[in-house]
Symmetry: D2
Subunit: 227 residues, 4 copies
């Protein structure tokens, strides 16, 4: 784990209909209540069209799902880092597997976000790419071991070496970087395992966004953080 | 002008820093107040990260600056039409010159928006493209005569035939479509000229978004609508 | 059918391994031999990396599979119309369903190609898009009725109205434009049906590109053209 | 310099009209003749539409300007690594500043090319990105110090530390990787300086592609390699 880094749970609401508009607000408020109740660090990334509304409605940190490396001003329908900041975000996902960016833009976005005080989470699809992304010094790299993506296999059941090898490779490049387990996380046991394997937290989506009772799932996830 | 269509003023706030976050809210409220005071139809398109917040704060129609032809659910950092709708939008710009889309996506987005009750404004860069976009039957086509874009030339001073020829060509394809003058509009005189030339309103950006006193500019624009 | 237009068979070799490098040359030569033998108009579109070599090796027209709306000069790894022309192409597909372009670029590419003497074939995925693309006056529109794409259903067996309605809609916009049946063509009977339905020819791919004996398939296709 | 690596001069012909079609062939033959005469390692990257023709016409190595991370088969107007190989290429530029790729595709393309025996040259815009790209182990990284791009400043005149710092950073990640000076190279003196600064060769474009006498320029460049 990163030096003295507090474990974090980041919930990406994607564009699920249950988690858009009113749904985004409702899940963000559930996350806020669980964060207060448990004292754990929980962050929500709502649909970008709901970003400012969610930011203005909860006291926990809210992240943008994406930022675009466009200049502010004469650009339409994009979210430059300054726009995410103005909306109230305190950080952002970058290069999510569903919204890939070219390498030169990733690097510039990390710099732009840093100068604005926005926390950066670079998403990566495998160990080689994680190593490359760590080389440009974001706050976090979220690793999505291909064996764990989009399925029922949880990080607890899979071969735990997948994650621990990734951690070793990334830390060799950038010793103090935050690392997130970005796939295979469903419940508190998975969160505990993610931390045991040396990552600093988790990034998950459908497990919360599509849950019948998001608050209950969030409570269970938070229970996986020891201490 | 389209049959019995009420003239409209659409304000695109783009990603101007003055018109993001608090600025977006403030301009949207000015537009609401001018719309109430003058009885004119004014629509605001805020930065997409501010969309839901602006929608929840004003009673005039709010448009998205853009929508993406992605499915709802497992897509991150995009705005599907359903997401714009959930945020409270009542319409959207599509294919803005700063956010071009492939033809197949434009056509599908018009259909998706229509089925959701979202008003569509397709942006076009010249007469040939306006003719093509009119052929897929959006609610509006916004034409940006290249002679008028991004400069100090107003539609009032330029050769008015630029706009009237475009109108004739578009109406030949689709007689009742709404047409907007999408460039060269700075003040009430330009709005009046845009309507005289046969368009149903205007789409403008920096003239309001970067104005020292957006309310005063909006009042002047509204004064260009006769009757 | 277009006024006095000679029926045409266009073969898109895509990037099939059997139809790349030596394979592209071999199929192009088979097409040349069938064109000579039957007197029919056959055009080949090889992988773009084989374009100049195929152009320099056969006497029938060769088309590019794609062109990019980039300027000539400081652009790397693209094919501007001028590059396709310099390679020896006499025309090009534009906006193939596997290589979509934004509307503004499609319109500019048609103009650039026209001024270079390159024949343009705009590919379209449905009737509404066909209508829109016809509005910018390319030499040909290739229609791919969704019911016929990528399957075993041939245009002969499917509801023939799919094609004839598309033809009527396109010709209403642009009376003398060439129209190609772009899906559901496997053999000479399909070619004959495509012409009967009012199109001016066919655009096909795997039926030739992956054939054990491309020359035999081409002979059969050519036999579908009457007279 | 990389362990026992022979210095290399790579000439990117981009899409310059002088270097397309017949022009591409003529410059490639000049490069071949200079390579034979001087014994130096010279590689040409012609417009992709001329790739197979140039490959079939000269005996020096020919590189593709770009490859696309698409599957072979049902893809139109792209160059998968297998297509570049079938055309006769022995390597390829990847992620040129004029043709950026998303990170996940860069990583997969390096693997695909490697398995086909294609030499990979990853282009990078600054030191941070060079470090990241080196982390995925291509054959070469070409660095383009922003201070040297597209101007009259040659690497000889500029602050030489720009290049030597980049070399140190890259070699820390990947000790035996080839490194190319990708900007600021006009003549033999610049080539000599590029080698002195610890790179293994140069990547240049307009200096040769737009030269009145490409052969003379190539002879001068080759003279910069000592020994």
């Amino acid at each position: 784990m990163g030096v003295a880094m507090e474990p974090v749970i980041i919930v990406n609401l994607k564009t699920y209909s249950e988690a858009s508009g009113e749904g985004a607000l409702s899940i963000a408020k559930a996350a806020e209540s669980v964060a207060k109740e448990t004292g754990r660090r929980i962050i929500v990334a709502p649909p970008i069209s709901d970003l400012a509304l969610v930011c203005s409605s909860v006291s926990i940190p809210v992240f943008s799902q994406h930022v675009d490396n466009v200049k502010i001003g004469s650009t339409t329908g994009f979210v430059p880092p300054e726009g995410a900041k103005a909306a109230g975000a305190s950080g952002t996902l970058i290069n999510h597997s569903e919204h890939r960016l070219v390498m030169a833009d990733i690097e510039q976005l990390v710099k732009r976000c840093e100068s604005l005080g926005l926390t950066t989470v670079l998403c990566s699809n495998n160990i080689a790419v994680s190593r490359a992304l760590a080389a440009i010094n974001p706050a976090f790299v979220a690793i999505e071991p291909p064996e764990l993506i989009g399925g029922d296999i949880s990080v607890t059941d899979a071969n735990p070496e997948i994650v621990s090898v990734a951690v070793a490779v990334i830390r060799e490049i950038s010793p103090e970087i935050g690392i997130l387990t970005g796939a295979g996380v469903k419940n508190g046991r998975d969160v505990a395992m993610a931390l045991e394997l040396g990552t600093d937290g988790v990034l998950l989506a459908s497990g919360v966004a599509k849950a019948k009772d998001p608050r209950a799932v969030l409570l269970d996830l938070a229970s996986g953080i020891p201490g």
